[in-house]
Symmetry: C2
Subunit: 276 residues, 2 copies
């Protein structure tokens, strides 16, 4: 971003990429956004696993994991107590015109350190969401991974202009809840947690994976399933997650309010103690 | 592309863009690929109209059309007899982290002149298509425009590796034919032409628009409608279009062959005489 503390492009300090990069030409790549806390990249292994999965799904032959780890460590060593690390891996420079990947250029990795936004003070009382007008397209080939084709997220986030909502909640064309433009969503019903299946669209956030794992650790029932807006409205609690904010209760979705956030705050407190 | 003859970035010769460009970060932009023939950018007005439509649909406030025209003219003046001009307009540099467009950075335009591929010799006898395994996701908000979120096209084109097919024919999840990864498709039935509706997905190519217009000019019936693979197989002729190849007959789709290409060749010959 404009306010980046520093950027390494294939390990070399820089601020630009060639215009023939397929990330720019086609959004042909993946990315990760990590929170660095007290010099520690939180849930690094989970982020790298998703990055690897995304590359595999897109057929990007990313072989520089050791170099990437070293670059993450290099930034972690100089980061302020809270910072954001963004990693982009693209398919690299196009060697020929056209959509088809030729497989003869190495992927390009871009690692940027930037400031973390000022912490919000309303996390305990809960955030407000609004229902996005935009519906997510469904494509199982791209579902779940954090690829660089993010126009749907951009258009959904644009709906928030002038709104007090933290995020826009996205449904698919059939009306199933999928995720926020920059968060995953969970409902709590009688002490059990459910989160949307992301087999057709949406991004499976790293913090979502941590919640799935830690619910098991804590003995809390959790399922991935199709959830409608009616399911959401009938929930005792709703919460959202992402790598930056962790677990945060939702107090309002559109016109519907949620009162309790006991389980969300318990999960939040628990996950805040974890780094991996 | 790597073999570009030259690139102007916001009017200045260059080869790179800042890594905070939202085109790279999110695929947040649109593009056009024009054929320059004997120094003339073919169907320039139609390309610029689609570019403008794409910017409007994405909420990109592109106000540098006069500058862009001048840059196109500058490249047209130095282009070899056949060349490709690619125009990218992105939402510009991100001024803050996050998907939401802030509206305070100017869009960035990238104009590149590159060589045209060697002309194929099999246009008259017809091309071969294969049915893509990948199905297109549906999103009316993004349908029709040539935005930079092209991973579906990349994955479909990747299916062509090692194949003799010119393009991969993409269907939506419901089985309707939409378009090729880099072309639009038309069927001919008893002298009338039909092409898929692109209200849910697909790119409405400039050459597709020219075919729609010129069919009217020539008194050929043409409709936009939902078309299935059965409709395609029942057709007398099939043809594909894009800005680079114009109108080209298809002789084979998967295992199904098409014999006649009288109307396609007539349209091809007619449109080859046009520049605007």
């Amino acid at each position: 971003m404009s306010e980046a503390f520093g950027t390494l492009i294939d390990g070399v300090e820089g601020t630009t990429v060639p215009i023939d990069d397929r990330g720019l030409q086609y959004g042909d790549g993946v990315f990760e956004t990590l929170l660095l806390r007290r010099g520690h990249p939180r849930f690094l292994e989970a982020h790298l696993a998703r990055l690897r999965l995304g590359c595999t799904r897109l057929g990007i032959h990313f072989a520089a994991m050791a170099e990437l780890r070293a670059e993450v460590a290099r930034f972690a060593a100089i980061a302020p107590s809270l910072a954001i690390l963004k990693i982009i891996v693209t398919r690299g420079s196009a060697t020929q015109r056209g959509y088809a990947p030729r497989g003869d250029a190495p992927p390009r990795r871009i690692v940027s350190l930037g400031p973390a936004p000022a912490p919000r003070t309303d996390f305990a009382s809960g955030l407000q969401l609004q229902i996005a007008k935009l519906r997510l397209g469904e494509n199982p080939a791209l579902a779940g991974i954090k690829h660089l084709n993010r126009l749907e997220n951009v258009l959904a986030a644009a709906e928030l202009t002038g709104s007090a909502s933290f995020d826009a909640l996205l449904l698919d064309a059939g009306g199933s809840i999928i995720c926020g433009s920059m968060s995953n969503v969970f409902v709590v019903r009688e002490g059990a947690v459910a989160t949307p299946l992301l087999d057709r669209c949406g991004v499976a956030g790293v913090m979502r994976g941590i919640v799935l794992r830690e619910c098991h650790t804590l003995g809390i029932d959790i399922t991935q399933e199709r959830l409608s807006l009616s399911d959401l409205k009938a929930a005792d609690e709703v919460f959202v997650t992402n790598a930056r904010i962790g677990v945060v209760p939702v107090r309002r979705v559109g016109e519907h309010s949620f009162g309790m956030n006991r389980l969300a705050l318990k999960l939040r407190a628990h996950i805040e103690t974890l780094d991996a």
